[in-house]
Symmetry: C2
């Protein structure tokens, strides 16, 4: 049997070098030049691996890239993204976000875990696969988009316009990760998202705060509105919010019973004594996978310089909410319900703007690629994989899994709960990165041998 693991180890410097190159490019939405540079980098790597690459253009979006290689009757679609989150607060990074640095076996850079680590591991795996097994005996389509972190606003249109080209027997969706205990994690769906910005301007100008004795306060008005939306245990109080939520099936609950999750390690990582609602065990897991959320992503009003005082009655207030949705909630319907809820309570003077609307979605896990991903995970990691119904995060998976009808799996990936994605000091372990290259080769090989 070919020593794929040994080959990957021998090439560690080379493939860490690829990741370093990728993570040195500031491909944030706020940096169009960085996005363009990153698209070229991915394009050149794919071309170098023998793929033909097409740019799927859209008038309002960075180009998505579609690489084709291999051949044969079976087909597999990879989905990744080359854009990354913003980097603020920059002063909390211990090294520069776009100057990758390895400390204690961890590779620190914006994008290391979300999602350049998995993207580059897949490119490396293709090189290894071809060297070990020769040409890929099925069709691989490599779809890499550039606006995932800003909500994939145009991705749906890009997919719909190129539906025939993108169809496949199964889709590999980013990477789910490796859990606390080192077990490979796989999921077959994703929560949806409704991200809204609430704004209220209640006064012509900021006022000296002595006027607060009679002038309406937009800041208080916003606090009062927010306070109607969620209970301290996390229950969302927006009227009708749970109407379309599917309860977990008996089969789902069986999966959860065997699902590994180290609550104590996670509490320590977060720096908290307990989870919201004090849930634990099966109740925790039910909530984790099957409950929607209403999170405050940001609030700003008035004077915010720490340690200083300015006696102002601010004229306006803004809050950002992100709501993770579960099947079969519909993001547009949820925003309509929020509007109605606020109107009914006297908050019709608060405007709502929506961003990043994504439908939740799940695939049935029995398809060939799904089975290959599970089987190869068990072999590569030598541990029972943690297979879960849905990731708790969101991606534009619905348009592929439902829109194109391509069953979709997020296989094990470089992400760990300690990866600090969307936060300062994002990182992945170098060991994990190499392991994911090895794992990717393994499931490609397993899939090639399925009927």
């Amino acid at each position: 049997m070919t020593d794929v693991a040994g080959l990957v180890r021998d090439r560690a410097d080379k493939y860490v070098g690829w990741l370093t190159e990728a993570c040195s490019i500031p491909s944030m939405a706020t940096d169009p030049a960085g996005l363009a540079e990153m698209a070229v980098w991915v394009e050149q790597k794919l071309t170098g691996l023998g793929a033909t690459v097409e740019r799927l253009t859209h008038e309002d979006a960075p180009d998505a890239l579609l690489g084709h290689l291999g051949g044969g009757s079976k087909s597999l679609l990879f989905y990744d993204h080359y854009d990354v989150q913003p980097v603020d607060p920059l002063n909390e990074w211990l090294s520069q976000p776009f100057e990758p640095e390895i400390r204690g076996g961890l590779f620190f850079a914006r994008g290391a875990a979300d999602n350049k680590g998995d993207l580059v591991a897949r490119l490396a795996a293709l090189e290894v696969y071809k060297e070990v097994y020769g040409d890929v005996p099925f069709t691989i389509k490599f779809l890499v988009e550039g606006e995932e972190e800003t909500g994939s606003k145009n991705f749906h249109e890009i997919v719909e316009r190129n539906a025939d080209e993108l169809k496949a027997d199964g889709c590999i969706w980013e990477g789910q990760g490796i859990d606390h205990s080192g077990r490979p994690a796989l999921v077959f769906g994703a929560k949806g998202l409704a991200y809204v910005e609430l704004n209220h301007k209640g006064l012509n100008e900021d006022q000296h705060s002595s006027f607060a004795v009679y002038a309406p306060s937009p800041a208080w008005h916003m606090v009062e509105a927010l306070a109607t939306l969620r209970a301290p245990d996390g229950t969302v109080l927006i009227e009708g919010f749970y109407d379309d939520v599917e309860k977990p099936t008996a089969e789902d609950l069986k999966i959860l019973e065997g699902f590994p999750f180290d609550e104590e390690t996670e509490r320590r990582r977060l720096g908290t004594d307990s989870f919201i609602g004090n849930v634990t065990g099966l109740e925790f897991l039910k909530r984790y996978f099957f409950e929607p959320t209403c999170n405050i992503a940001g609030i700003v009003t008035g004077y915010t310089v720490p340690g200083a005082s300015k006696t102002v009655l601010p004229k306006q207030a803004m809050a950002k909410l992100d709501m993770r949705l579960v099947p079969n909630q519909d993001p547009d319907d949820i925003v309509a319900k929020l509007r109605k809820h606020l109107d009914k309570r006297g908050f019709d003077d608060i405007t709502i703007d929506s961003f990043s609307m994504e439908h939740p979605v799940r695939s049935e896990p029995g398809f060939a690629l799904g089975r290959a991903a599970i089987e190869a995970a068990e072999e590569t990691f030598e541990l029972p994989p943690a297979v879960a119904p849905m990731m708790i995060a969101t991606g534009p998976m619905h348009v592929i899994a439902r829109g194109l009808g391509v069953p979709t799996v997020s296989p094990a990936g470089v992400y760990r709960p300690t990866s600090d994605i969307h936060a300062p000091n994002e990182n992945c372990s170098v060991e994990d990165y190499l392991k994911i290259i090895e794992y990717t080769v393994a499931y490609l090989d397993t899939y090639s041998r399925t009927e």
Copy 2:
């Protein structure tokens, strides 16, 4: 009778020039060089008017200035401050805050109305007075401090250390203003202040918002805490908050019945349909003068870039509250009550830092200087003055009025409800400024003739 008004008009360019000089100096707490430059400017102006000037130093504060001039058995203390508020949001200014500009008869600059307009008008009035009437036949003490806008943290100590020098028969405290209808406004007291910053850090790091399904949210926790503090009608819900509030006396209510206040103009200025609690008429005035407040001066948590989405669960949240107090609330007691209120409701993990603690205070209006200020106002403005028990804003008046036992009046001043103090585009009218010079000369003269 000497034409003081005519003389002031003839000198309009000169005295507007003085105000322009003063308002060109960026004497904000954040600009120590600007504060120092402004102190020198005031010192030189006072010296030029024949005063001897002493610097009242304090190890933690900008120097306060004490000018002495005149002589005789009676004495008058002026209180003003040479520091100004911060200027943010700078982009909302139509001209630069420290490059005074006159547009449509209004003089725009930070400090124009709070309180350089009154301070410089007094300096100009002294020059006019001496020219018209000769030497001042009573003692004038001119106290000008430099940290009023940051809460006069050390002013109490400065006053206590120099108590003998500062004692006087009456005190003229900044300026109250001119009301909507053009009537001169005078008050005999000030509300107090307890300004606090609330902070809560509930997570080690910012988290990807998908974790909101189980991770505690510091932002929600802060919103929940804030929501317990105030009712939408403005009633403060902190336990025991109203315990020490003095109700208005029958005499107070009589003053209020005749008190001019154009509610409709004020609503239009604010850009609102109604005041909080929908109060109007006498109920409005009772609230205005005799009710304390709990205002949100600022909140910040998480991602706050307008029109963009970042799916983050922020690790911390901050809120600033300013509470205007009325006799006999005590700011330290109020903060202790806030602490207890939060602890009792499970918010003991929210820290409280206090700034700008000021006692509320009132003087009985019958003292000679108080009567002179009222009488001269009626003569100068040819309208019945609007005399009120307290200003709704705050200054460190307590240490003078109670600490030194010097009865205190805030006479008519350049401030109008449209002056946008503590906000962008602060302004005073050039006409008002000249009128206040004239008025100041008038009450100095009236006071000189009292027994």
